[in-house]
Amino acid sequence: MTAMSGQDSVAAPPSRLAAALSAHGLAVLFIGPAILLVVLVSIYPVFDAMSLSLYATKYAEKAGFVGLKNYIDLAHNPVVWHAGVNSLVYTIGSLLLVLPFSLGVALLLNRQSKMQGVLRTVAILPWVVSQTVTALLWAWLLNADFGPVTYGIDAIGGVRTAILASPTWAMVALVGINVWSSYPQATLLMLAALQTIPRDLYEAAYIDGAGPITSFLYVTIPLIRSTLLVVVIQLTLLYFNMVTLVYVFTGGGPLASTETLALLVLKISFESWNLGQGAALGLIVTVINLVFSLFYIRTLGRPKG
């Protein structure tokens, strides 16, 4: 406070000006640094990426303006289109599995029981586990020679498979571990929505003759619809941009079968060291995100009900 009261002692009605100045000064002092940092680390890089994407690069240095060449190269590269398809499969596949599963878990957790607290803690535990660790754990679980999952398939089905060596099964496994890793946050959001539904409504439905399935369809689902929408949009963004899980689990293989667009950004940039093209693809990914995000803000901004 003392730091700010210095700037006011001149003007005619000193005190009111002082109040205005110091309130204003305080606001700037409070908000400024955070905004400055965000601009520097999150916004400036976007513009830098725009510029960089128009250049050929040699390591961290620009090596000549090439216009839209990076974009044109990307558009003509079948690897990029293949990755796009993979992203789509990965995102949609994960969504299709995670939504019913997380809703089921949310319903379980919403049920009154003595185990509720413990069950909740256990059920959302995978959320705490990083994508790196998730990938490593599951790589070991699915290990072709010693993994318990491999053993389970062997014991039940009589086949000993190297899951991560098959292009199809690798994607299936990737989607599966993604569901394991991401269902808790969907569950928590849904649980929060479920808990806002008043008990009265279920009792009223019960008196009206609704069984558990009817009241689920006609009471529960309509009342958590807006939350479900938020979950879908959040997870879509999460899955579409996911790099770490894929990179550590399969590295995009085998045979680029799990190589997504987001992963490709990383690989072009830091494995092929083509920073210009990496920046260009990164921007394309950003634009796709932006379209999703606008949709997201729209839905969030719309009143419920």
Binding site: S15, R16, A19
Partner: protein, 354 residues
């Protein structure tokens, strides 16, 4: 001396002027109540006294000091908020000690002052509790405790009883009044409840639309309302009003537009020919001949008295009867306002002509 002087105070929120030139002097030790309908500016005025709102123009003085430009903490005031505003993360003792600690009062002194305040308010057993563990009435009392430990020049109360249930409100009303009689600190109390104003105030300030309509003792306002607004605002059930003119021939009488004839005690000089409003309080509308007949619509016995809603010449009037008498709905009663208690207001300006 901690007289509170408000002179020609204005307040603008953007283009809207919410306080439009207010002059009030509250004497040392006086209990003043600001009352008025919501939006009349009473809370804004209180917050300006506290320093929570700036003053657009005019002066506020506490004691000898002009406080316009002082921060709230430097005005030597204490305030009790509508929501009590107890700090939820501090227990009762810490809530009460907070301002003293900030002022740098010695620990021993703080302890003594808290003890004294706790004695006065019966807070001793609650000192270690947190606000969430207290009932509404207890919170209210802690909020008062927090105010009185400071021993300020002026107490400010912002609708402090509005969150309590009816019974508790009556009890706390008496308690605040007793506290004031004991401490004799200059007090400004804001409420929208005219009963609270009547029962507690040494002086009532009735406000409307950012201006003071009337100031005075409770009975002064009740008996001699300066205008139609004050007359209708003060008193419950509220005053009956009938529009009309005075008769210019013979006995002084008021003739309503609807055709009622009401005898008057005297005729104000300015009355003849003007459009007027005749007002009389429900308890001044008595059973008796010489007035008018009225049909009983509703009967509400309260115990000590009976509230009767009647219809006379198409107009509803309320009447409070002290005598016990069997009254049935539909019955025709002869009624007559006490001539000495009738008010005549100018229909245009609203001013009281008597």
């Amino acid at each position: 001396m901690s007289r509170l002087i408000i002179s020609n105070v204005h307040k603008n929120f953007g283009p809207v002027e919410v306080i439009r030139g207010v002059d009030i002097t509250i004497e040392d030790g006086e209990f003043a109540v600001l009352v008025g309908p919501s939006g009349c500016g009473k809370s804004t005025l209180l917050r300006m006294i506290a320093g929570l709102e700036s003053i657009s123009s005019g002066d506020i003085r506490i004691g000898e000091r002009r406080v316009n430009d002082l921060a709230p903490k430097d005005r030597d005031i204490a305030m009790v908020f509508q929501s009590y505003a107890l700090y939820p993360h501090m227990n009762v003792r810490a809530n009460m000690a907070f301002s003293l600690k900030l002022k740098g009062v010695a620990r021993r002194e703080i302890e003594q002052r808290i003890k004294r305040a706790a004695d006065v308010l019966g807070l001793e057993p609650l000192l270690a509790r947190y606000p969430r563990e207290l009932s509404g009435g207890q919170r209210q009392r802690v909020a008062m405790g927090r105010a009185i430990v400071r021993d300020p020049q002026v107490f400010l109360f912002d609708e402090p009883l509005s969150n309590l249930d009816a019974k508790l409100r009556v009890a706390m009303r008496a308690e605040i009044k007793m506290l004031h009689q004991r401490l004799r600190t200059t007090t400004v109390y804001v409420t929208h409840d005219q009963i609270e104003a009547m029962t507690m105030a040494d002086r009532i300030v009735v406000m409307r639309d950012g201006v003071v309509e009337q100031m005075g003792g409770p009975l002064e306002l009740y008996d001699r309302p300066a205008n139609l607004f004050v007359a209708s605002f003060i008193g419950s059930p509220s005053m009956n009003f009938v529009a009309g003119r005075v008769a210019t021939d013979g006995e002084p009488r008021f003739l309503s537009d609807s055709g009622l004839s009401i005898p008057l005690a005297r005729l104000p000089a300015a009355a003849p020919g003007r459009k007027l409003v005749c007002g009389f309080r429900p308890e001044d509308l008595r059973l008796g001949e010489g007035g008018f007949g009225a049909e009983v619509m509703v009967v509400e016995p309260t115990g000590p008295e009976m509230h009767v809603v009647v219809r006379a010449a198409g107009q509803e009037l309320t009447c409070v009867l002290r005598e016990r008498r069997n009254i049935v709905v539909g019955e025709n009663l002869p009624l007559r306002p006490v001539p000495e208690s009738i008010h005549l207001f100018d229909a245009e300006t609203g001013g009281n002509l008597l």
